[in-house]
């Protein structure tokens, strides 16, 4: 059993904590007693700065307060509100409003998290501080949960098309979601909506196929002569393939058309130029290739395929920099682990438990477990899921899916339609403390 992560330095801070950390094996009964006192008040056991208030960052901030007692937690987020990517495809379909997927940070504030609206400009790993548009913040441990940013290089014209607003990605929920919805509303009946899907790995594997369903559900009633063209760079549907194919046949025959191995080369106007053909669309929606959020790059911790951040899964600490934990879509995923909001929330709890233990000089949990569930709407009410359970494997030092566990829905159904919306209510409250 791992008692202390050998890659992690003893916690810094007061000499009391250092002494207890170093002597944990010998005087752990005393350690326990003092840790119990520390959680009841007195000086904070440490300062944690969290960058990014999405599923990962909000959850780690909340659970550091919930489990850590007196941890000084600052959450730095550039937006005023949390806008969920999950469920946001229903906004595109006209079945939900953006307000339905938007929540505030007041719950976290009530829980004692200092929520700061600012843009992080630099991470000073040596000096243990982050620089932001609202000043500097010192930390004992830093958590980066920046999500993804886009790699538009390699697709001529894409960045300019995104910058101009002519083409939306809508792969970060918020203004882009609304802009794409407006384009769909403005499109004449008989028009073509084309969506380009990047090669995996990308955020939310089933998300693009759910989006095809949602746009098609809108067209079916509002613009029945219109088409949804799915241009997928992958050789097949990457998640819940059988269930999506069935939904398309059952509900959207003649509306949704799917092309595999459709790698986008260039964007010209609203034309998607593929290797062997040009596809003219009325509304072009490009989900670009993705990599770890820009702040991870500027912090110098992107060390996997020049795209992702490798982490120690017992602690989520970066393998490139001590004291910096990374959550969610920015990480180099363990085998079979999707980039999803649910998974980021689960990783955040592993991180919160580990950070508290490290600040206290206690051993970290040697046997963490994370679960994923992704619900996808195939109609306004019918939903399909994919689920997986991942146990930490000490020998290979990574999470592995448990053989025989997990799976997908037997068929699309309305019971899971209700569960999907309740899932959202529960995970938003779990992450945002309200």
């Amino acid at each position: 059993m791992t008692l202390h992560n050998p890659n992690t330095p003893a916690p810094r801070g007061t000499s009391r904590r250092r002494i207890l950390g170093a002597g944990a094996a010998g005087i752990a009964v005393g350690t326990l007693g003092l840790a119990g006192c520390a959680s009841m008040g007195g000086a904070p056991i440490g300062r944690v700065v969290v960058v990014g208030g999405g599923y990962g960052g909000a959850t780690v901030a909340r659970y550091l307060r919930l489990w850590g007692g007196n941890v000084d937690v600052t959450l730095i987020e550039r937006n005023d509100t949390f806008v969920s990517c999950p469920i946001s495809n229903l906004v595109l379909g006209g079945h939900k409003q953006i307000a339905d997927v938007t929540r505030g940070y007041d719950g976290l504030r009530m829980a004692g998290v200092k929520v700061v609206k600012a843009e992080v400009t630099a991470v000073d790993a040596a000096g243990k501080k982050v620089r932001t548009s609202a000043g500097e913040f010192a930390y004992d441990r830093l958590v980066l949960s920046p999500g993804v940013d886009f790699m538009t290089e390699g697709v001529a014209g894409l960045q300019a098309a995104l910058d101009s607003g002519r083409v939306q990605h809508a792969w970060k929920a918020g203004p882009q979601t609304l802009a794409l919805r407006r384009q769909l509303e403005a499109m004449p009946d008989g028009g073509v909506y084309a969506m380009c899907i990047p090669l995996a790995p990308y955020r939310c594997p089933p998300g693009p196929y759910e989006r095809a369903c949602m746009v098609a559900s809108y067209f079916k009633t509002a613009k029945p002569r219109s088409k949804v063209l799915v241009l997928d760079a992958n050789p097949d549907i990457t998640s819940k393939a059988g269930l999506f194919r069935k939904a398309w046949a059952d509900h959207y025959a003649g509306i949704i058309e799917y092309k595999a191995n459709a790698v986008l080369r260039e964007v010209a106007g609203t034309t998607a130029k593929l290797e062997f053909e040009d596809v003219k669309a009325d509304v072009l929606n490009v989900i670009p290739n993705q990599r770890a959020g820009d702040i991870a790059r500027s912090a110098g911790i992107v060390n996997a395929n020049n795209r992702w951040v490798g982490v120690n899964w017992l602690t989520t600490e970066s393998t490139a920099a001590k004291g910096i934990h990374v959550l969610g879509d920015s990480t180099l995923s363990a085998p079979g682990m999707p980039k999803s909001g649910h998974m980021a929330n689960q990783q955040a709890k592993v991180a919160a438990a580990a950070i508290i233990a490290l600040l206290r000089g206690e051993p970290v949990n040697a046997t963490p477990v994370v679960v994923n569930t992704c619900y996808s709407f195939v109609t306004a009410r019918d939903v399909v899921h994919v689920a997986s359970v991942h146990q930490f494997d000490a020998k290979d030092a990574t999470f592995k899916t448990v053989p025989g566990s997990g799976g997908v829905s037997a068929a699309a159904n309305q019971i899971e339609g209700r569960y999907a919306l309740s899932w959202a209510d529960n995970i938003w409250a779990d992450a945002l403390a309200g």
Binding site: A28, V29, V369, T373, R418
Partner: protein, 127 residues
């Protein structure tokens, strides 16, 4: 890893746990806990949070500490035996489910027990 091999899991409950006393068995185990703490302090420090950490994997759907919203089943305060029977029925297929038959199979029996004990000790939040 088989958690049951590692140490008596019952000793993991904090002495200050607020869960209800369920007969003599509970008294005996609480009395034994300090002795185990002396024998394996480092292990205890980790184990004290095992149930908490595992139960947190349920919170995405079933609410923080099992206080669920909407159509999800609340788990806070559910008797441990009831939850264990339910999880066993999901695993075996005796209890039809949309998703829990797939998720329950991801946890060992010892982990299920730790989860059940943790939720049994939680107070349902006032609505």
């Amino acid at each position: 890893m088989n958690l049951a091999d590692r140490r008596p899991r019952r000793a993991s409950r904090p002495a200050g746990s607020t869960r209800g006393l369920r007969g003599l068995r509970g008294y005996v185990l609480l009395a034994a806990a300090p002795l185990l703490a002396m024998a394996a302090p480092a292990a205890l420090a980790q184990d004290a949070n095992l149930g908490r950490n595992l139960a947190a994997t349920c919170a995405n759907c079933h609410g923080t500490n099992g206080n669920a919203r909407g159509d999800m089943k609340p788990l806070a305060g559910m008797a441990a035996d009831k939850m264990l029977a339910m999880l066993a029925d999901f695993k075996s297929g005796n209890q039809p489910a949309t998703i829990m038959h797939q998720i329950a199979k991801g946890y060992s029996d010892a982990q299920a027990k730790a989860v059940a004990d943790y939720f049994a000790a939680q107070k349902p939040a006032a609505k």
